[in-house]
Every structure is written in structure tokens, then in C-alpha cells.
Symmetry: D2
Subunit: 286 residues, 4 copies
Amino acid sequence: MAIALGANRYGKSGIRLVTVDRDGERHAFTDLTIDVRLEGVFTPAHAEGDNSAILPTDTMRGACYALAREEPVGSPESFGLRLTAYLLEAAPAAKRATVSLLQQPWERIAGDHPFGFTRAGGGLRTAIVSRGRDGDDDDDVEVAAGVADLYVLKTTGSAFTGYLVDRYTTLSPAADRILATSVTATWRYTRLGLDYSQCADEVRRAVLDAFAGHDDSQSLQHTLWVMGEAVLAACPDVGDIHFSLPNQHHVPADLSPYGMDNPHQVFVATDRPFGVIEGTVTRAQR
Amino acid sequence: MAIALGANRYGKSGIRLVTVDRDGERHAFTDLTIDVRLEGVFTPAHAEGDNSAILPTDTMRGACYALAREEPVGSPESFGLRLTAYLLEAAPAAKRATVSLLQQPWERIAGDHPFGFTRAGGGLRTAIVSRGRDGDDDDDVEVAAGVADLYVLKTTGSAFTGYLVDRYTTLSPAADRILATSVTATWRYTRLGLDYSQCADEVRRAVLDAFAGHDDSQSLQHTLWVMGEAVLAACPDVGDIHFSLPNQHHVPADLSPYGMDNPHQVFVATDRPFGVIEGTVTRAQR
Amino acid sequence: MAIALGANRYGKSGIRLVTVDRDGERHAFTDLTIDVRLEGVFTPAHAEGDNSAILPTDTMRGACYALAREEPVGSPESFGLRLTAYLLEAAPAAKRATVSLLQQPWERIAGDHPFGFTRAGGGLRTAIVSRGRDGDDDDDVEVAAGVADLYVLKTTGSAFTGYLVDRYTTLSPAADRILATSVTATWRYTRLGLDYSQCADEVRRAVLDAFAGHDDSQSLQHTLWVMGEAVLAACPDVGDIHFSLPNQHHVPADLSPYGMDNPHQVFVATDRPFGVIEGTVTRAQR
Amino acid sequence: MAIALGANRYGKSGIRLVTVDRDGERHAFTDLTIDVRLEGVFTPAHAEGDNSAILPTDTMRGACYALAREEPVGSPESFGLRLTAYLLEAAPAAKRATVSLLQQPWERIAGDHPFGFTRAGGGLRTAIVSRGRDGDDDDDVEVAAGVADLYVLKTTGSAFTGYLVDRYTTLSPAADRILATSVTATWRYTRLGLDYSQCADEVRRAVLDAFAGHDDSQSLQHTLWVMGEAVLAACPDVGDIHFSLPNQHHVPADLSPYGMDNPHQVFVATDRPFGVIEGTVTRAQR
């Protein structure tokens, strides 16, 4: 039987890299979890068991630590740029190297401790750097950034009414409800050489302000759009932004069996099932 | 600022549907977790807060239970076919409905109890049915099936040698090692109307037998290829199969500090980081 | 301010030990996750930073691998006996060493493959060995064994009626319902030197048979009692057995809004909140 | 065979209660996850299937929502006091009611938004209220409070040297290392009627300051002691505090194969196995 190898990739997941920068007594540190993937022409490894083109995933792991020693890690985006460049150099059969980085944010204890830290709230910072072999460097590198697990909730300013009703629809319209989600978003930059940490801060602030400030949300889709618009307005170097928003439902408790009303005070937070809204907001073509 | 809505979809995740079929004293039951997604023209909901084209995700949930009452659930694939047909009928703005189903397998207690069950091993069964609005039904429906979390391990018959060595490579070649992974695979059928449960059994058996029987595996990529080949040989209605294979590393414990050798007897199983091998095996074009 | 150290213990969690036994072509292997704890007089380490009585947790880890090389691991109970003996010998300040072991069961692929395995269903096997320093060995060692994550469900033979009703009770009585739980149980042996693997099999079988065979269960408490009774009847060397049973609720879907009845066919499986029933069944004192 | 019921309890886990307090435009809200347990004389339910003394766990769930409507929830401790009082009143067979509460902290978006919130860092707040039936109220109620998942890390000021060395010890002493843990602590109050939220803030601050300020930590045990001492000094109403501290190891990457040194700059964060230090610090008896 004749068979062929279709799309394929391989790499290492869950590389945990922590680096400490010392400036006398005052330390800074970076906490990253890194995934690496290579795509390319790896048919001999699959079809013939010939590993001569395979850079071991253990080497990808080792390279993270070595590169972090050669130069300070800096932003996740800049480390991803360095790591993808190394990978394409090391693995000639690879046509594309993609590195996903997740940064756990920490803050100084008591606001200003020189070397003591506690995990900060506000979600995780992410970055994805993808570098292809063809073309010149600037053209064939894509840098995306993101946030993950950014939990937000508002206690009013959200409705869900006027939806399609069919034979299986039993949901009651809500003129005023709790809206809660965990924002996972990824945005793509239209050029390189940015101050990525500043951009990430600006996007994060735009997302939070738009979520809270959008006081006539008609749906999570509506809020997604408003958040996307705010990000594109705030950050000229962002080309588009993709959101994945689970709807963390809060249902008013039915207290009528106890002879009580419930004027939007007591809610049941539910886990499953949950709505999911996904969409990309992009700059319009002219 | 002019902005536009790019790719978007929405739906419900984590719908837990359990159905019992009674044939006198002897019962059968089906345990499904279902995700639903709609894609289509939902710009007014995003840009204007106009929900008139939005089928609520709560209705998707309700429809699962109602459809399960109207007719027996049957295989995950056949239920997905019914659910996607309903969704396109109910939501005129939707261009495509996709339903992912995960079935937890159970087996009868003591082999033959009429109504007592315990969770079976051997991973989860999955199915993905995607139905587009255009074209006639047979042409615009795609049925895929899969397994997830199928843990396999072999204690010999696996090597990893002859790989690319660069300045960051420290891994030692292994002529004989433990190979372990958790198989997640999805295969696409080339036609409809199959006995999907029988097909799923055949694929699962082919995967297991190929994994164990491939006694000169040179890498997880090599094993992926052999498993894919076995599936395509066993199941003429499978067009291609995609594997995602985490490499669950088992490293021989270094006992030399204790003055002991370790002739492949004692291993450290590690969690992170871990290799990941992903690839599709397809029938060759002639 | 005068302060004192109360109850304290320390150790290593999550030691992953896998061993392979080779008998020619036919291999067996053991997959353990081990937690170690020491209790004793460790006040100087806490109050003065004096580590001279502290056996490093890294040594506990290393000892697992070394002991596994010195002699075959055997049952989790027997390995726990060896490991606790070592720990008390190595750490003079320790008054008690406790080792908890979790064994992942695997079965041979295709029923009889010599070296290929897949994870078996039927829950995990556990053991807890606790050894005190005082007294002779037989008196001051306690061996307990268990199962964890043993999922069971029956589609009939379970009711819940006649319960206490107060002002906040809205639950409807159920004369026939689905009963589902994930059994976690720990039983204590009254003597040492048993065939622990055979005992574990017998207890597991007694639990499953009693769960399924108890066809007039009035509650999960009632089922707990019947399972406990069956275990004590089947295994004369078991002194008592403790169960922790989450009630994995399956609620009949309310299809009345769709004009449908639901004669115990379609159920919603819910995650949270969930009932929990915990209790010990012991041999009666005479 | 004569058998008996030993220790037993039952209840509901994972009750998700969210309440909104409105003061005009400015809202506050409380996000709790609640576990309820009853202990008492429930032998008839187990041994005879007689449920007449059993308060359904569904009623426990309903009561949480009803009580939250009757009066504002307030602190987790005060809600636990109300809920345990109700439970003993509703279930005459219960000898003791214990309620564990976990509060997810949220903070206002942009520091001062009237109704928009994002999850705060700094771990979760917990409370445990246990009320027995005998004695007068003040004597037979115990209120404990806690923090969970409070991640802290310091980049220096921690050592681990001078430990016991045996035949399986290979760990190298560390004069300067990263110390990281996730603090889970529970402290008991010696009297009732406190401002529990203020106390919880004070304890949390004492823990963080002691962790960071203890700049000659000789071990995680040593740090545990110092944190406990700081809490008891800061909060006269705390009688004792129990800590459970996983040692989240950060191992200097071995860069010598690449011809590089590593002066405490690049670390591998590891998941498993991990050390665990548990201990109670209490006021000394005089």
C-alpha cells in the first residue's frame, strides 16, 4: 500500500526556564515556560527510521538554557527571536521554527522588596515567534503576543436579549446580568523591533478598560468587538487580535421555593457546560 | 478607525449527556461530553449588539437532550450528524456547524452485569462532525473519529540513535529504551454510512498492535508512521490519520554514585519537559 | 515571645519509579508514584536552622531508585516496608516514617504481548506503610492498602427517599435513579506477611460485586455499608475499610419545555456541587 | 459477620456562591466555594437504608443561597458561623457541622472601577468553621482561617547546608539558592467576634514580610518557623498556625557541557518530585 507523510512537526513542550538578573542587592527574575516546534522535511525519520536530520528535542531544551546564559533573556518575544534563529541554523531540514512562550508575572513583596517576590494577578503573558527559512529575516518572521487566564467580571452593564428563539430555546432574556470570562487573546504585530513589554502592557490595559467601560454590552460577542476595537486604537503596531472567551455563567439562584425574591443579589456560578466566543478583530481593508 | 470582523465562531462546550437504553433487565448506556461550534455571518452581533441571528448556546445544550430523547443516541458520529443538521436548520446565519464528541467507555462489572458498570481502560473515543450549508448533504459533511489518552508503553524494541549533533547536544544515543506515549489520533472517513463503532474498534486495534509489534522503532516518528500505515491498511474507509504523541520519557536512573550499575531495570519517569511528535499519514496520490 | 513547634513532618512527594523485570523475551514492569514523610524531633532545624538531623528529601528520592536496584520492587506494600526500614535507619531523629505508594496498573497489549502494554482500567492501586521506631517490628508497622479513582455506575437498583425535609429542602424523592461514584478506599491489614497483591484483587472484586449486586440501595451511605461488609467478609485479614465516595450526580433532563416526557432515559451529568460520603466499616467488638 | 460503623461524615462539596452588594452605582461582590460536612449518628442510614435522619446534601446547597439572601454574606468566617448554626438546627442527628470556605479575591479594574473586576493575585483566602452540638455556643465553635496557593519566591537569602549525609545522599550543599513555595496555611483563633478580614490581612502580610525578610534561611523548615513566629507576634488572637509548604525546586542549569559557567543566573524549575515541609507553630505553654 502506498502511503505518504502529510503535515508534521515535532519539538519540546514545557521547558521551564527561570533566570535571575542581579544588580547588586536588587534582583529581577524571569519565569518562562517554553514550547518549541520544527516543521520541515522529516520524511526519512518517519518512513525509514533515519534520524540524521533530527535535532533531538533534548537539544532544544539544552539550547534554551545555553542561550539564556549567553545573553539576558529580555522579553519573551526577543528570546523567541533568538531561539528560532538558533533552531533554523541547527536543523537544516527545518523549514519553520515556532516558539511559544508563557511568562508568569511576579511582583515584589511589599511593593519594593529587592529579592522577594509573589505571583502577580492579571493573567499570564504569552508570545509566539514563528520564523521561516525562506525570504529575508524581516519578512519571514512573525511575532505575536498575548494574554491568557485574565479573569474579568462585571456585576452590571451586560444584557442578553433579542436572540433567535426556536423550538428548543428555553433561556429567558436578561436585561441585566453578570458578565464574566477568562480572556485569552493573541495579537499579531505588523513590524519588528518594538518595545514588546510596553506594547503588552498597553494591550492589557486596553482590554481591561474596554471590558469594564462597555456599559451596554449586549453579548460576549459585543464585548469582544469593543475590546478588539480598543486594542487596535491603542496600539498602532497591532494588526489584528484574536480572542477566545469562555462565558463563565452566573445564574441568579432560584429562591422562590423558599418564598424569597432575588433582586440580582445571589448567583450560582456554574462550571459546565459553558459558552465559548471566539473571534478576530482586524483593521479594515480600504 | 475602521475595523472588521475576521474569523469567528461560537458555541457551547462541556455538555454532559448520559443516556440509558433499557432492554428489560439488561441496560446499556452512553456517556458523552459534547462541544458545539457555529461559524457564519455574525457581524451584527459583534459590531452592533444585534442578537437576532444568534442561537443561544443554552439552546444548543437543550437540543442535545431533546434530540437524545427523540431517537437513541447511537454512535457519537451518528449523533453528531443529527445535531449538526439541527443546528444548520435552527441558525440560518450559520454557514457551518461542528460538533466534537468525547465518549467515555465503560465495561460491565464482572464481565456481564446487566446494569452495573465500571470505567474501561484503553483511552477515550472521540468524533468530530462538521457540516457546511452549501452543496448536497453527502458532499458537505465531514466525519472524523479518534482516540484520546490511549496510554501505551513498551519496555524494549525502541532505539534513538544517529541523530543530528550540534553544539548544544548532550543526549546519549540509546540502542534500547522504554518508549511510552499517550496516543491522541484523529482519522477522517472518505465516505458516510459506515459502522462507525466497528471502524473505531479496528483502528484502535491496529494502533495498539502496530505500536507493540514494531520491534525496531528508531524514534517516535518512526512508530507514528508504522501506526499510520497499519491503520490505513486495516481500514479502507479511512483517508488519513493524524497523531499527536507526547514522548513520556523514562530515563535510566543514574545509580553510579551508589556504586551500582543499572542494566535497564530502574527508570525515572519524567513529566516536563516532554517531546511532542505530530504528523499525518495519508494515502499516497497516484 | 515564646513559641513552640507543634506537629510537623517533611518528605518528598511525586517520586516516579518505573522498574522493568526481564525474563528472557517476556517483560514485566511496575509503575509507582511514591510519597515519603518523616516525623520526629526536628526542632533544631526549625528553630535554629541546624540541619544536622535532616535527611535531605533528595536522598529519599535517590534511595527509592537504589533500593529498587538492590532487590526487585515486588508489591507496593513490600517496597514500602523496605523503604520505611531504610528511612528510620538513615534518620535517627525520625520517630516514624510513612510511605504512600500509588501503582498505575497496565495490561498486556492484545492480552499477551511480551513487552507492549496499555494502561488498564479499574482504578489505581495504593498502599500506605507506616513504621514507628519503638516496639518490635511486627507491632509498630502498619500496612494499609487501597484503590483510588475506581469509577462505578449503575443505571438502576438505587433510590433516595424518606429523607429529612426542612424549610430549604426542594429535592424530589427518587425511587429509581442512576448511582455513580469514584471509589477511593483504604483498608488496614491486621497482620503482616500477606500476599498483598492477591488481597488487593479480592478487595477490589468484593467492592465491585457489592456495588453492582446491591440492588435496593437506599443511598450512597447504604451502598458504602454493603461494600464494606463484603470486603470484611471476603478478606479475613482486613481489619477495617474507609471509603470516600463522591456522589457523581446524574439528573434526569427536564424535557417538559419541549413537550417531551423523560422515562429515565436522558440524564445531565453534573460536576459541582457534588455530595461526598465518607465512612469506615469495621469488625464489631464483642 | 458482625460489623460496625466507624468514623463517618457526609456533605456537599463545591457549592459556588457569588453575591453582589449594590450601593448605588458602586458594587461589591463575594466569590465563595463552600464545602459542608456533618458528623453524627447516621448508623441507620448506613446499616438499614433508613434516611429519616439524613438532611440531603442538596438541601445544604440550597441553604447556602437562601442564607445569603436573608443577610449579607460578610466574611467567609461569619457566613460559616451562620451556616453551621443552621445545619445543627436542621439535622438533629448531627453532632458536628464543619464548613470550609474558599474565597477568590478580586480587585477593581483600573483600581477604582465601580462594577468591573479582575482576579487579584496573592493567593486565596480560606476559612473553616466547626460547630459542635454540646456546650454553649462560644465554647463549642472553632474558627480557623487560612491562605492557599500564595506563591512566593526569593532569589537569594536561602541556603541548605550541613544536612545529614548517608550512603544514598548525592545532593550538593547550597550556600545561596532560590527558595520558592506555594504557602498553604491555616491558623486558629483563640476567641470569636474578631474582625476576620482585618486579621486575615495582617497574617498574610506577616507571612509575606517574614518570607522575604528572613535573609539567612537555612531551610524551608527554618523559614516556616520564622513565618509562624511573625504571625503569632502580629496577631494576638491567633493561637497557632499550620503551614504546608511544597519546595518548588529551582536547580542551576548545568552548562558545563557547553563550556559555560552558571553563576546563579539560569535555573531549571522542576515539577516532580518535590519536597514538602509541614508544621505547626504554636504559643509556648508556660
